[in-house]
């Protein structure tokens, strides 16, 4: 009798699976049919692993086919190209081609100055791209197809550096022929001199047009290794994120400044300080973003540090001070997306009308989702990953 019941249950289950697989178009894809369309990087020990994964179709992904680099390789995606800097604070830039199936093939590399720390890449077109060298205080122009260096814009020296010889360039953003370059002005790689420092460069001549500083309490303009800290809205207003020395220096604050369309100066009437945001379910608020993603309509998502949850000195085992926050840049309002708290090693991305959050929480490490339409928020990973997340990006096709 028992055996017969088990057989019946098995039959029902098989039928149900078959029915769902054949008829429900919203169901997960068969993993074997899915195309790898998300780039993921994780860290395990002293290495990072770069791989592509088939969307959210697999419950568990590992690094079996991943490319290994030393810890925290920066990644930059441009259409079918993936650029990596395999040695953090190193001197190599590698380019991978992404094929139709999401496979990565090494297709070129470029050597920069020794230990110059490539930190952001902006591709203008197939023959022209810019690369910031954070430790060398330079911007390199190169041909992204051939990976050959074509020019150097040297920012080192007293003209643009504060107290030392390096203005520590970070992010790049192009509007028209003007390249906006963030300057961290950091004496130690972590903290920055007061003020938000920015250069504008004319890319037709590769000459500096202007050096602008906003001294309203911020510091450390941009972030190395993350293109999203500078972005342009639908009206060509540029938003510049500054990280306020990552909370290390009292009085230095993090937030956003704006350069309005048609101008190359910071809007004196606009500044958004993160520590002034009132956020429900986040006691004490936030003090900086570690990763962000502009989602259109003046909305930014990011993983933010909640100081109330960060031990001093840090408790690297127990601390989970990272919260996913949605910010309205114009309304200057914010809300917490109710994922579990995470380590700050995390990333967010937009994919299929969802916000993906690669998080490291006490109950799961992987990709969580927030439905932009319904607000449905997962409480456990839809995709479990191997290692703490560093980078997550859908392929730009």
């Amino acid at each position: 009798m028992i055996k017969r019941n088990y057989g019946f249950i098995a039959f029902l289950a098989a039928t149900l699976i078959l029915f769902i697989a054949c008829n429900d178009e919203s169901s997960p894809m068969d993993p074997s049919d899915a195309v790898n369309d998300i780039i993921l990087s994780t860290t395990l020990g002293s290495s990072s692993f770069i791989s592509t994964i088939p969307g959210l179709s697999q419950e568990n992904v590992d690094n079996t086919e991943a490319i290994e680099t030393t810890f925290y390789a920066y990644l930059f995606v441009h259409e079918d190209w993936l650029f990596t800097c395999p040695n953090l604070s190193g001197d190599i830039v590698e380019k991978y081609n992404i094929d139709e199936d999401g496979n990565l093939t090494l297709s070129g590399s470029m050597v920069t100055n020794q230990a110059s720390y490539p930190s952001d890449i902006l591709v203008i077109n197939d023959t022209k791209a810019y690369l910031t060298l954070h430790y060398a205080g330079q911007i390199v122009e190169f041909n992204p197809t051939t990976m050959e260096q074509t020019a150097v814009i040297d920012l080192s020296g007293p003209d643009y550096a504060v107290e030392d010889n390096n203005p520590d360039p970070t992010n790049l953003l192009l509007r028209g022929n003007t390249l906006f370059v963030g300057l961290a002005q950091s004496p130690d790689g972590v903290t920055g001199h007061p003020g938000v420092h920015l250069l504008t460069i004319d890319i037709t001549s590769n000459t500096v047009q202007d050096y602008i500083i906003d001294e309203r309490g911020g510091s450390y303009c941009g972030r190395t290794g993350d293109q999203s800290f500078f972005f342009m809205d639908e009206n060509e207003n540029i938003y510049v994120s500054f990280v306020g020395s990552w909370g290390f220096v009292p009085g230095q604050r993090a937030g956003f400044l704006r350069i309005n369309a048609g101008t190359t100066e910071f809007d004196p009437n606009y500044i958004l300080y993160l520590d002034e945001l009132t956020i429900a379910n986040v006691d004490g608020g936030i003090n900086y973003f570690n990763q962000i993603q502009y989602a259109g309509n003046n909305t930014v998502y990011g993983i933010a540090n909640v100081p109330a949850l960060a031990s001093n000195p840090p408790d690297f085992i127990n601390d989970r001070p990272g919260a996913i926050i949605k910010v309205d840049l114009v309304a200057k309002s914010a809300e917490r997306i109710m994922f579990p708290y995470s380590k700050l090693l995390a990333d967010v991305a937009l994919y299929d009308n969802k916000l993906l959050a690669a998080l490291s929480t006490t109950t799961g490490i992987g990709i969580y989702t927030y439905d932009l339409s319904t607000g449905e928020t997962s409480q456990s990973p839809l995709v479990n990953i191997q290692g703490d997340p560093l980078f997550l990006s859908p392929m730009n096709r």
Binding site: S46, P187, P314, T362
Partner: protein
């Protein structure tokens, strides 16, 4: 010029003492086992003529005028033996001596000859390899190279002579391996002085404890330990050594000892000078196609010491010693070209050692040592320029300095006082107790005006202090006529430290971090059993619960990027070992040994560096299991041909089930712990020609090879794992001549014969082929 003068002196001294006449030669053997005895003083009574037996027991005395003489053979711990001869001009007489062991009247402890000391250490119930440094003192090699030939041991070295190195024993590395000199922990907080700086002529033997550290040693570690036993000189002695090898690496060393038997006073002096340019060429591990000539890697080490000892006071011996040390190391860049930054140190040491057998009780032995080193270390990085490997110069991005975000011009003061009290009570002929107390008082006082400016406060306020006591009690007992022995030991570690708990969110405030302290009190335990099945076969079993206490750097960070972790616990491990030894000496005095060891270690609360993407700090993170085995065969194939072979397999695996403080499965559970060699081995053959080029001469040729299997730098999770330390095979060939009854040596060898490009630390290329030559002259004494 200096080199030529020294060469002249060494050669001249060698030939002056070789005038022809009658001679006596022969071999010295133990009466009991017939083994050759090294270091026996053989003298012609009524003359100043004499010699000492070599490692094979051979001796030779030349230049004896015709006449009748009494020839005496004497070694501490043996009854003196005498034979009478009558010798004519140009006559050569062969005399063989068989010496019997003695027991000193004031103690039941046997005073053993050099070779038997080694055997005694080797036959401890613990897993231990003993390397006879005297057997390789004529070779142009350093201590690290000697250690790397031992089963279960790997040397992880970043470059040439004087470069950063760490010893790996059965998968334990760096701070997990404790280093002792004569049983006293070597504490050099900033790594200024390492045992590899000590030339081999000062070393008697090297004991490598694999898995269990005897409780009679102080200090702490997870089970691996190196104990360097320094030479003692019982007779008048003068020795000069000179070596030179590729990449302008030079060493000069000397020892002088003079005895005054009547008042029981001995004075000594010695020292060494080592300079290495290390200017080898390497392929950049970072930039494809870039060949780098290492032009900023020079290393200098100078040590001078004087000693005075008394042997006729109430104590059997009181020895005062005063070494002075100086070292300088240029910092070679691998990822970027460094042209000026360098580190230096100076140390002034006062040392006192006292021994007394029959210490208020006829069976109680007392040993005390006190070491008071005062050291200064400097890191000088003040260049306003940086350089590329192509020779371009540019302004330092940080304003000052080539290394990081700020310049450094430190002058740190380090005091490292330590004392050791050891009491050994022989309760009976089969039972003894040993009580050991090792104490340490250490202070660190930083000074750096550039860092003051950079950090915005005076770092000289950030003094740190360590006070520690390690108390060890050992009980040793033997049964069945010594066939079964058990050693049980316990240790208590008391460790107090003071440092600063920097407020990472308050930097730039101009305020120094707040002071904090940490105390650890923990127990360790070990037990070893030795069972001798017969004259040839011995079994060993041992267990230890070992501890490694966190260092000041791990507890308090560096005040800048390395955050303090004042609550981290000691690392601990459970170590099990089983060993099998077969040791046979045949009727022709040819030895055949097989040693096989198996081990299991479980490590908990491993202290690892981790971070949150912005800052780093140490945490108790890992749990690891190490299972492995090593085996070694040594054989005198003939009386002239010796061969050895050893192999080690050690499988170190992550066994943490869930990530700490989470319910998330650990993604590396069951994987091999990366960046640790897991399979390696050595083999060597050595052939000795006796008197190939004349009387009283010995020629040795040898070939050694070592192999290390490829291992990964990171966790092995990908099919495209490309960060790896490739497998390497290295061969060394050498030739050694000894003249004048082993008092004059000339040796030459080629290391890395095939010029293979090797690494044993990721991204740190090692030198290629090295040619080396060494001259050594023992002018008198043994």
């Amino acid at each position: 010029m200096l080199k030529n003068i020294l060469l002249f002196i060494v050669f001249a001294v060698g030939f002056i003492s070789a005038s022809p006449s009658g001679e006596v030669h022969g071999i010295i053997l133990t009466a009991k086992t017939g083994e050759p005895l090294e270091g026996v003083n053989v003298s012609i009574e009524g003359t100043v003529l004499g010699a000492a037996s070599d490692a094979d027991g051979y001796y030779r005395i030349v230049g004896i005028p015709a006449g009748e003489y009494t020839v005496s053979a004497y070694l501490v711990g043996y009854e003196e033996s005498q034979q009478t001869i009558e010798i004519r001009v140009d006559q050569s007489i062969k005399l063989t001596f068989h010496l019997r062991q003695t027991v000193l009247s004031s103690s039941s402890v046997l005073v053993l000859g050099h070779r038997e000391e080694i055997e005694a250490v080797r036959k401890q119930p613990f897993s231990v390899s003993v390397i006879d440094a005297q057997a390789v003192q004529a070779r142009a090699i350093d201590l690290n190279e000697v250690l790397s030939r031992a089963a279960g041991v790997q040397l992880r070295q970043a470059g040439g002579t004087g470069s950063e190195s760490r010893i790996s024993i059965r998968g334990l590395e760096g701070k997990q391996v404790q280093v002792f000199i004569d049983g006293r922990p070597l504490n050099t907080p900033d790594g200024t002085f390492g045992i590899n700086d000590i030339p081999l002529i000062f070393i008697k033997r090297i004991e490598v404890y694999k898995g269990i550290i005897p409780a009679r040693f102080g200090g702490n570690g997870l089970g691996g330990a190196i104990n360097v036993v320094m030479n003692e000189y019982e007779t008048d002695y003068l020795d000069l050594g000179l070596s030179r090898q590729s990449f302008n690496t030079n060493n000069i060393s000397t020892v002088f000892v003079k005895n005054f038997p009547a008042p029981g006073i001995k004075v000594g002096a010695g020292g060494w000078f080592t300079f290495a340019e290390n200017n080898y060429t390497m392929a950049s591990p970072f930039q494809p196609g870039l060949e780098i000539n290492r032009d900023h890697d020079a290393f200098t080490s100078v040590v001078g010491a004087v000693s005075l000892s008394f042997s006729k006071l109430w104590f059997d011996e009181i020895e005062l010693e005063m070494p002075i040390l100086y070292g300088k190391k240029e910092l070679q860049g691998v990822q970027q070209n460094i042209q000026h930054a360098q580190s230096k140190y100076q140390a002034y040491v006062g040392a006192l050692a006292m021994d007394k057998t029959g210490f208020f009780h006829e069976n109680l032995d007392f040993n005390y040592s006190l070491i008071l080193p005062l050291g200064y270390s400097q890191m000088v990085d003040t260049s306003r320029y940086r350089y590329t490997f192509q020779g371009e110069r540019f302004l330092s991005p940080s304003g000052i300095g080539e290394l990081g975000f700020s310049g450094q011009n430190s002058d740190n003061r380090i005091f490292e006082g330590s004392q050791r009290i050891n009491l050994n009570l022989d309760k009976s002929s089969t039972q003894s107790y040993n009580l050991n107390l090792s104490s340490r008082y250490s202070t660190f006082s930083p000074e750096d005006p550039l860092q003051n400016e950079y950090l915005g406060y005076d770092i000289s306020q950030q003094k740190s202090k360590i006070v520690s006591n390690t108390l060890g009690l050992t009980h040793e007992i033997s049964f069945l006529g010594g066939r079964l022995a058990n050693v049980v030991g316990g240790k208590h570690y008391a460790f107090y430290s003071e440092g600063y708990e920097s407020d990472i969110y308050g930097s730039g405030s101009g305020q120094p971090p707040a002071k904090t302290s940490n105390f650890v009190g923990e127990f360790g335990f070990n037990n070893g059993i030795r069972l001798r099945l017969n004259e040839q076969i011995m079994l060993k079993f041992s267990y230890e619960r070992a501890l490694r206490l966190p260092t000041a750097n791990e507890l308090y960070g560096d005040g800048i990027f390395l955050q303090p972790s004042p609550d981290i616990k000691p690392e601990s491990s459970h170590n099990f070992h089983a060993g099998f030894l077969f040791d046979k000496l045949d009727s022709h005095y040819r030895r055949f040994q097989i040693e096989v060891n198996g081990f299991y270690m479980r490590l908990n609360d491993m202290i690892q560096l981790t971070g949150n993407g912005i800052t780093n700090g140490y945490v108790n993170l890992g749990e690891t299991r190490i299972v492995g085995a090593d085996a070694e065969i040594k054989a005198d194939v003939t009386n002239n041909l010796y061969a050895y072979l050893n192999a080690t397999y050690q499988d170190s695996r992550d066994i943490l089930e869930f990530l700490p403080a989470t319910s998330v499965p650990n993604p590396t559970e069951g994987l091999r712990v990366p960046n640790i060699p897991w399979l390696f081995g050595n083999l060597g053959v050595e052939y000795t020609f006796r008197e190939l080029f004349g009387d009283n001469q010995k020629t040795k040729v040898y070939l050694e090879s070592s192999y290390v299997e490829e291992f990964f730098y990171g966790w092995e999770v990908s099919n495209n794992q490309n960060l790896r330390i490739p497998s390497s095979t290295e061969h060394t060939a050498g030739l050694e001549f000894s003249f004048n009854a082993n008092t004059f040596f000339v040796s030459a060898e080629i290391k890395n014969l095939t010029n293979e490009r090797t690494y044993n630390i990721f991204n740190n290329p090692l030198p290629g082929r090295i040619f080396a030559i060494k001259l050594r002259r023992t002018i008198f004494g043994k």
